[in-house]
């Protein structure tokens, strides 16, 4: 009997000592290459420090809600959410506040008034407009810094950039900001733009490729620049243009710029098909998420954060140009 109690106590003690805190990671869709890269980085950064549960919402907010419900039941110590619908964060934050489970959102930013509902709701992301400004920088690098005397990339020498815009999701916050800001920024710098077409391709490579096929047919070699809201669509455009016979002669090297800095874009940049991209630094964001998690769960102090925590709520990581 005494032996039994001793064994029992030992088991309990061992159970206690071995128990890791549980953190779950709810991503909106693992079909998204960028999100997948980020997930890998987060996993690597956590380095088995916590019991990490990764769940894919398959682009359904209702599925994500069910995951949240089950993670609440499992009494997670913290939930990291990449929301399907950023407005759904309102109810999620209220629910998690009631259950006192801290939450870190990333990639899709909840409304500020929703994040402010609770002091344990955080957001890790990027300075949205910065990506567009950097894209404008890229355009400047390509076409030369004198807006009135463009270089050879202005093939018809009219000092007007004839461009195609590949937009992400219609109405998506990032897509809207990236699109409007890159144009605003270029206009502010004095460039004359002729937007041949703004095509919505929903962040998708295949959709971008298909839509680009039609655009190329219509505008042929009058396209002087393609600005894409992300790399996937940019790569789709490259594939389409190569099919149409671009990139064979000098004059048909149409500069294409993207955003995200996916791993596969590096080879495209090297071969010159992709003029450049703006790195949405998934590694840095992953690190920020992990450090924030450690801060919330008491393993790290605010002084030890690599990225600054603003307003006790936001960590916004800088974009970088890759050319």
């Amino acid at each position: 009997m005494r032996l039994f109690i001793a064994t029992l106590l030992l088991t309990i003690l061992m159970g206690c000592s071995q128990q890791k805190k549980t953190v779950s990671l709810l991503i909106y869709n693992n079909q998204d290459t960028f999100i997948n890269e980020m997930t890998e980085y987060i996993k690597k950064e956590f380095n088995n420090e916590y019991e990490l549960k990764i769940m894919d919402s398959q682009n359904f907010q209702i599925t994500q809600n069910e995951f949240i419900e089950s993670r609440i039941k499992a009494k997670d110590d913290l939930i990291i959410i990449n929301p399907v619908d950023r407005l759904g964060a309102y109810s999620i934050i209220k629910k998690l506040k009631e259950k006192n489970i801290p939450v870190v959102f990333f990639n899709r930013e909840p409304l500020a008034k929703d994040l402010n509902l609770w002091d344990k709701a955080f957001y890790v992301g990027t300075k949205g407009e910065q990506s567009a400004t950097l894209q404008a920088d890229l355009v400047e690098n390509i076409f030369g810094s004198d807006p009135l005397h463009l270089n050879n990339y202005d093939r018809n020498r009219d000092n007007i950039i004839d461009l195609v815009i590949l937009k992400g999701e219609q109405g998506h916050q990032d897509a809207e900001i990236r699109t409007s800001e890159v144009i605003n920024s270029l206009k502010k710098r004095g460039y004359n733009l002729n937007i041949l077409v703004t095509e919505v391709a929903n962040w998708s490579r295949t959709e971008a490729m298909e839509k680009m096929d039609t655009i190329v047919e219509e505008f042929q070699d009058s396209i002087e620049l393609i600005i894409s809201n992300n790399d996937s669509m940019a790569i789709g455009a490259i594939i389409s243009l190569r099919k149409a016979g671009f990139f064979k002669e000098d004059k048909l090297w149409v500069p294409i710029i993207g955003i995200d800095g996916l791993k596969e874009t590096y080879s495209y940049i090297e071969s010159g098909y992709l003029a450049g991209t703006v790195l949405n630094d998934s590694q840095a964001q992953a690190k920020a998420i992990v450090e924030l998690t450690e801060l919330i769960l008491g393993k790290r102090t605010q002084d030890n954060l690599t990225y600054k925590l603003e307003n006790d709520k936001y960590i916004l990581v800088d974009y970088k140009i890759i050319q």
Binding site: F60, Q61, I62, N65, E66, I68, E69, I72, V84, D85, L87, G88, Y90, S91, I92, K94, K95, E98, L111, K113, D114, Q170, G171, Q173, E176, S180, T198, V200
Partner: protein
């Protein structure tokens, strides 16, 4: 100390208790297990089913909202890139065309930030002035990056509309005289589409759909008939914020799913009647109860019957034993039933038979013993012998043979002392021999030396105790039968071997014929002959006292001698 009454249950009770408890335990265990499994299954079935229904409904609503947003996007991006100043008519056409061609769109407007209508149909004047204060306007202006939905209401801005409508409003950029401006795009949507969506769903009796806005106000209820307990489900939805929860409203089971609604900060709540499934569980409990009671009754009946079958022959047996106890030995048990009990009753019957025979024999033996003792007593004080002896003494006295008188009287006195010997049944061989010597002394005087005798006793038998007065009748016979013309010789011997003590009385004389010896043996064993009463008496006494091994043997040579041998087993004697 407390007196604990120990209760001994009968076989019947034992059987009943045992079978009932086994059946109850097994039934309870299996039904509990079954119920747990079933309950668990139905529970998860209820949940997964209503979640599935909920998912379908929510996705329908999300599809609807997505399509509305797409309409807004389409209008925004197909038209607002154009300069209004130069394309006014074209834009106006797009707006009116879209509102007329799309079934769910009632009207489309564009306002500037000051509330002035830029594009769209004519306004209903009643609302014209208040636009700046309308919630849809303020919210769209404040939170620019999202589309805002209003609750359904009947305040359409359109001139000739009295439908219930929902407003979608958002901040948009438009170009007026080559300048970019900000304005509010408003799309009025037909509420009917939302209603049709709800009508398609089946949430069971009293099931319904609620939509709560971000201020926890009920902005939509799919079914407002009387039996819909929406106020309670609304309370639960407000309290639970998000997720699935089972609820009992007015004693009907519902499963309530609370979800976010895409592109809005609203929550959509589906309330699903799951009472039917819960009822199935209740029915199962009832069924299990019926099975429980039924099998319990059946077991009781069967075990009572079995117990009866076992105990009723036993009871019969018991009654017979009681009768036996009260002395009725003529009882016979006739029992039918189980083999064991029948065998038991047979044994019982034969036991009674045995007891009866034994008792008869005991009674017989007792009677025999008593008459023998009486005879022994008669032998002790044989009046003839006493008269004869006294006659001899008188005769001796008359002849002045005073020495012989003395000898005789002393012998007589000793003879009687040993005969009576304080009523003891057994005496040492020594005393028995001394008794015989006294007897012979007396007889020798009486018969005036007509015989001689010798006594030869082995030393190791002196102290053995034997039944008294067994020699005297034999010796008496020897004297009577042996006295004749010649001097008679009587030899008395006593010796023993490992198993027996022997007395031999041998006398000379005519002897006895073998036929006569046969007769004597018969007589000893009970044939009614009036001779040799003394010997028979001795024979029966030793048989009674020492058992079957004790015996008397007669050997005779005609005209020579007769020998009587008394054989007494030593083992029995020693025990006595």
């Amino acid at each position: 100390m407390k007196n604990r009454i120990k209760y001994n249950p009968t076989i019947g009770q034992n059987i009943l208790i045992a079978t009932l408890s086994i059946v109850i335990i097994v039934l309870l265990f299996t039904s509990a297990l079954y119920y747990a499994v079933f309950s668990n299954r139905t529970e998860s079935l209820i949940e997964s089913q209503s979640r599935e229904i909920n998912k379908q409904i929510v996705l329908n609503y999300e599809n609807y909202i997505n399509s509305v947003i797409e309409t807004a996007n389409f209008i925004q991006f197909s038209s607002l890139g154009m300069d209004i100043a130069t394309n006014y008519n074209k834009l106006q056409d797009i707006f009116t065309f879209n509102s007329s061609i799309k079934k769910d769109v009632v009207s489309i407007y564009l306002f500037d930030f000051y509330g002035n209508k830029i594009l769209g149909d004519n306004l209903n004047n009643t609302y014209y002035k208040t636009i700046l204060e309308e919630e849809w306007f303020i919210e769209a202006k404040n939170e620019m990056n999202i589309s805002h939905f209003s609750a359904p209401h009947s305040n359409s801005l359109a001139l000739q509309s009295n439908e219930n409508v929902i407003f979608l409003s958002r901040t948009v950029d438009y170009i007026d005289r080559s300048r970019k401006r900000r304005g509010i795009l408003l799309i009025e949507l037909n509420f009917k589409a939302l209603k049709d969506l709800a009508d398609k769903t089946n949430l069971g009796e009293g099931g319904h759909i609620l939509i709560l806005n971000d201020k926890d106000q009920l902005i939509y209820l799919s079914n407002n008939s009387e039996n819909v307990p929406f106020s309670k489900s609304f309370e639960i939805a407000v309290k639970n914020l998000l997720g699935g929860v089972k609820a009992n409203i007015d004693s009907i089971q519902y499963f309530i799913n609370i979800n976010t609604l895409i592109h809005t900060r609203w929550r959509i709540v589906t309330v699903n009647n799951v009472n039917d499934i819960s009822l199935a569980r209740k029915e199962m409990i009832l069924m299990m109860f019926v099975i429980f009671v039924g099998s319990l009754t059946l077991t009781t009946v069967i075990s009572v019957y079995i117990a009866k079958r076992i105990t009723s022959p036993l009871n019969k047996l018991k009654d017979s034993m009681f009768r036996l106890e009260s002395g009725d030995f003529n009882t016979k048990v006739e029992v039918k039933g189980q083999k064991e009990v029948v065998r038991l009753s047979k044994s019982f019957n034969s036991m009674i038979d045995e007891i009866r025979t034994l008792m008869d024999r005991v009674v017989e033996e007792q009677r025999e013993k008593r008459s023998n003792e009486l005879r022994a007593l008669q032998n002790q004080i044989n009046p003839h012998f006493l008269y004869n002896t006294l006659d001899s003494i008188v005769w001796l006295a008359e002849n002045h043979r005073s020495q012989d008188v003395i000898t005789t009287v002393i012998a007589l006195a000793r003879f009687f002392r040993i005969s009576i010997s304080s009523g003891a049944t057994t005496i040492p061989v020594r005393d028995e021999i001394s008794h015989i010597e006294n007897y012979l002394t007396i007889q020798k005087i009486r018969y005036v030396d007509k015989f001689k005798y010798t006594i030869d006793i082995a030393r190791d038998v002196y102290d053995i105790k034997v039944m008294k007065l067994i020699l005297q009748p034999i010796v008496e016979n020897a004297i009577y039968h042996g006295i004749g013309d010649d001097m008679e010789l009587i030899d008395i011997k006593a010796y023993k071997d490992d198993n027996f003590l022997y007395f031999e009385i041998e006398n000379t004389g005519y002897g006895i014929t073998p036929e006569r010896i046969e007769e004597i043996y018969k007589m000893l064993n009970g044939a009614q002959i009036k001779q040799s009463v003394g010997m028979r008496n001795v024979y029966q006494r030793i048989k009674l006292y020492y058992g079957e091994k004790a015996d008397i043997k007669i050997q005779s040579e005609l005209d020579e001698k007769t020998q009587i041998k008394i054989i007494i087993p030593l083992d029995i004697m020693e025990k006595k």
